[in-house]
């Protein structure tokens, strides 16, 4: 199709990105998969031990089970409340009510701040002495309200959840964009046929943004799988090991120089992410053309 010179240029243009991909994705992921089956402390060479790391991860104590439990609930909450809220805001802003730009603008702010900073801010918000939550509760009459948010269960679980729960600006933007892309003719046709606003929203708009909602779910659930700062900088996985998650187990592995173990945890994270995407794709039949 092209002459050899052009082909060379194409190759040259692709080379840097390819190099990045190989160096920072292919090789690391392969390493992660392979060393998940070894015992390795970073100093000596890895030694093959089969599925021992995985067995240890799953069965050693209940930490992995708790991590999965937490992931399950957090994903559920993410897929429903988090994405739901983002979608809700998107539908509201779609009508361009007064001040919609302000809402869109400020909603983005939590996302442009480092997650670490955000986690730390919330640590102070939930602080018993100076934090707004407890002081507010005491103010409105619960004078004995001294919940130690990050140190009791189930408070700790919910406190961690709250740091990301309503901050759904990405979902909102994706859904909003899809909404705005719906051809006006469809709306006009429906209105002509006698449908009211509510019916248009529920029966036409919602199904048409299915793909966006699906994408939103994928993005938010994979964020839950990889969530690190929100837990590490607040509860450190506590109290006990109640708010543990998989990235924390990975981090423990690295800190204790058990790299094989850490990478087994990493492999699980990757598989979960891929699994979520496949599942959501299936459920939402996202590959179909809608109109």
């Amino acid at each position: 199709m092209y002459n050899w010179k052009t082909k060379l240029w194409i190759a040259a243009f692709l080379a840097p990105a390819l190099a990045v991909f190989v160096l920072f994705y292919l090789v690391p992921i392969a390493t992660v998969f392979i060393t998940g089956f070894t015992k390795w402390n970073g100093f000596n060479s890895p030694e093959f031990i089969g599925f021992d790391n995985y067995i240890k991860l799953f069965t050693y104590n209940n930490t992995f089970a708790i991590s999965l439990r937490n992931l399950f609930f957090w994903s559920l909450i993410a897929a429903t409340v988090h994405v739901g809220f983002g979608t809700l805001v998107a539908f509201i802003l779609f009508k361009r009510p007064w001040g919609w730009r302000i809402v869109r603008g400020t909603f983005m702010i939590p996302n442009v701040i480092s997650v670490a900073a955000w986690a730390m801010i919330y640590k102070f918000i939930f602080n018993d002495d100076i934090g707004i939550i407890n002081n507010f509760m005491r103010y409105i009459g619960f004078s004995d309200f001294h919940v130690k948010w990050f140190y009791e269960m189930p408070a700790a679980f919910f406190a961690v959840t709250f740091t990301w729960l309503f901050y759904a600006v990405i979902v909102m933007l994706i859904v909003l964009n899809d909404l705005m892309a719906i051809p006006k003719e469809i709306h006009e046709a429906a209105l002509l046929d006698g449908a009211n606003e509510w019916q248009v929203t529920w029966h036409i708009n919602l199904p048409l943004v299915k793909k966006a909602i699906g994408t939103g779910i994928i993005l938010s659930v994979t964020s839950r799988i990889a969530m690190f700062e929100e837990v590490a900088l607040t509860t450190r996985g506590g109290p006990g090991n109640e708010t543990y998650n998989i990235p924390l187990m990975l981090y423990n592995g690295i800190v204790n120089s058990e790299y094989g173990y850490a990478n087994a945890a990493a492999t699980i994270m990757i598989l979960l992410g891929v699994g979520v995407m496949a599942l959501v794709n299936r459920l939402f039949r996202m590959n179909e053309r809608l109109y």
Partner: protein, 275 residues
């Protein structure tokens, strides 16, 4: 028409709620940073009795804040430029040419989006060590550049696809070579896509915490997010200073964002749709 009213009230309530939870935490931190420790412990809701910048000066002068700021700036900036260059090249080719393995490669590249960054922590750590780049800004620049792969490629491919083929052909007739067509014809027209990708990448690099934490040590190459963790111990229960530090770390990101708002909104939405 009651339902209309309810609908409107509900909508406004949701909007107000959204604005509140997005801004209140930060406003509270900023407000508290001007209060003395006593005032903070006394009543978290009260307004500061005086605007005292002493804590800010303290943090800026005595805690290498400027160093961390410049580190973050240098690392995020360089990584962004490098990434833009590399991914513009690839995006151009993906957008405008067909070749064997094109779809296979594209799928490979975009699947990387699914891989949680933290999962690669150990191999990347070893890689940086093997390259003898531990505790250098270069290490972070390289690692961050790689983070932008999927996102930048999305955006830039789409951008280049919008540059009309006719312009390419016209340039070809005029005798321009491959590089020339890219550099002089397409690139200038891809400005908005480049800006979008650049801004998104810059913001994410600026805020990155995990890799900055494991790839640097000591204060020479530390970035702002990591510095926060250190401030936490250093300032222990001197809340005023801690809040001042938080504000200083958080503010640059917000300011940059406010300046480039429009671009960011458009870009994030358009990426999602391709996903």
């Amino acid at each position: 028409m009651l339902s209309r009213w309810i609908g409107k009230i509900f909508a406004n309530a949701v909007m107000a709620f959204t604005v509140a939870i997005s801004t209140f935490p930060i406003l509270w931190v900023i407000m508290s940073s001007f209060k003395s420790n006593k005032e903070i412990l006394g009543d978290p809701f009260s307004l500061p009795t005086s605007i005292d910048f002493a804590a800010y000066l303290d943090v800026l002068q005595n805690y290498h804040f400027v160093t961390y700021f410049l580190n973050s700036l240098l690392i995020a900036g360089t990584a962004t430029l490098l990434a833009l260059f590399i991914y513009a090249l690839a995006g151009y080719v993906f957008g405008k040419y067909d070749f064997r393995l094109k779809s296979a490669l594209y799928i490979l590249f975009t699947v990387t989006l699914l891989v949680p960054g933290h999962a690669k922590a150990q191999p990347i750590f070893s890689l940086i060590m093997d390259l003898n780049l531990y505790d250098t800004k270069t290490a972070l620049m390289l690692v961050y550049t790689s983070f932008g792969l999927a996102l930048a490629l999305f955006i830039l491919r789409a951008t280049f696809m919008t540059v009309p083929k006719d312009l390419d052909e016209a340039a070809l007739i005029d005798g321009a070579g491959f590089w020339r067509i890219f550099w002089s014809v397409n690139l200038p027209l891809a400005r908005s896509g480049l800006a979008t990708a650049g801004i998104l990448m810059f913001l994410s690099y600026w805020n990155e915490y995990f890799y900055a934490l494991i790839l640097t040590t000591g204060s020479t190459n530390r970035t702002l997010p990591v510095a926060l963790a250190f401030f936490d111990e250093a300032f222990s229960y001197n809340y005023t200073r801690m809040f001042a530090a938080l504000t200083l770390v958080v503010l640059p990101g917000i300011i940059i964002y406010l300046l480039v708002q429009e671009q960011v909104q458009k870009s994030v939405a358009s990426t999602g749709i391709k996903g």
